[in-house]
Symmetry: C2
Subunit: 233 residues, 2 copies
């Protein structure tokens, strides 16, 4: 339509699965995952919704493709890392790999939620895990221990953890309506912890607790534990 009304303009780039998936990431990046609808995606591409179905089976397929795009971006980043190679250095290598993956996900904050809903594993994710396994093997892990390690890391292996409760929202609720004293009566330890943390770290720019350093704390806890088992076994 637009191309007919304006003759002589761009010759219209044809759609393709590749282009559709890239656009999907772009839409989610700018408006969040709930803004990713087939109609909006088509609009973003200068096409109609039903045209997408020639390149993509359905919306589930789009979401599958989107995690593959993100995982590919992760692989591109981690492949550039200069690995210190195997032996006892496995921990350093794995740690850096995971933190790099996390950096990519921080650029697509909606992505973790999508990763978790997928059951079909994307080839790019498999490639990521395969290389991670390779590092552990080079570090002396048995396949069995490496297997346990993957489960223990869970989503952390890809660089994210879902925070189940955001103490800020609880604190906010307390500030607003409910009496803080009443709050303290109901949740004494929670309130005590919040008070102490806030006191210890009053001017942290990232809020009362820094997610990045918490992520690293948990990651190191697991990696150290695995290392101990590796040395013993």
């Amino acid at each position: 339509m637009a191309s007919q009304a304006e003759p002589g303009t761009e010759p219209r780039i044809p759609l393709s699965r590749e282009r559709v998936l890239r656009a999907a990431v772009s839409v989610a990046d700018s408006g969040g995952i709930e803004s990713l609808t087939m109609r909006r995606l088509a609009e973003h591409l200068g096409a109609e919704a039903m045209s997408l179905y020639y390149h993509v089976a359905n919306k589930e397929d789009v979401l599958d493709g989107v995690v593959d795009v993100i995982a590919t971006e992760i692989n591109e980043v981690v492949d550039r890392i200069d690995v210190p190679a195997g032996g006892a250095d496995w921990k350093k290598a794995v740690r850096q790999r995971i933190l790099s993956a996390r950096e990519v996900l921080l650029r697509h904050s909606w992505a973790p939620g999508v990763f978790e809903t997928r059951t079909n594993t994307s080839p790019a994710v498999l490639r990521y895990y395969d290389a991670l396994l390779g590092m552990m093997r080079a570090g002396g892990f048995s396949y069995d221990l490496a297997h346990h390690a993957l489960h223990a890391l869970g989503s952390r292996a890809l660089g994210f953890t879902q925070e189940l409760f955001d103490p800020n929202s609880g604190a906010g609720a307390a500030d607003q309506g409910a009496d803080l004293a009443e709050m303290a009566g109901q949740f004494p330890h929670l309130v005590g912890m919040l008070a102490e943390i806030a006191h210890d770290d009053p001017d942290s720019t990232l809020g009362w607790c820094d997610d990045q350093s918490e992520f690293e704390f948990g990651l190191d806890l697991i990696l150290d534990g695995l290392d101990r088992i590796r040395e013993r076994g």
Copy 2:
């Protein structure tokens, strides 16, 4: 309608937020979370969809309420546990608490996904975390370490981890179409691991890897790590 057509039957139990939320859990239990729509929920209650809105703000509110119902069920279970009390026994107590929470979630397999999408923390979840914190404090944790511990545990504190990749689906894909040799070329470590695990544990009734024992492995890894820090600090 039905109550008008059949006069003299039950006097019709009035709706209430409580009843709506319990019905929502029941619907999700039997048909999965994607089957939980306002219309179906109403039908389950013998009412019309719009009638629910007198007791519930909107669907988000229903989901918030649903996690509160589940968290309350968890609290009821863990409150019954006979705690071995504080000191060095903290680990045993926390471990048992978390595994009990997991048992509840296993009865509502759709629940983890809903927990992760909530940002408003439910009072029942706060109560759960508060008691968990209390156990750690009794075990000698500083608030700071307990805070780190909560982040390190993440969703594991409530008894679940999201499995990002199910090797079964990968293996299934390999079995079906793609050549396993080609698969091994692309993902050598992954295929090696799968082969060894399958060989070591050929007749596990829970599949090639037991999620429960993997959960416990990861949980113990973290709890042991925290215990070491506690002793040192």
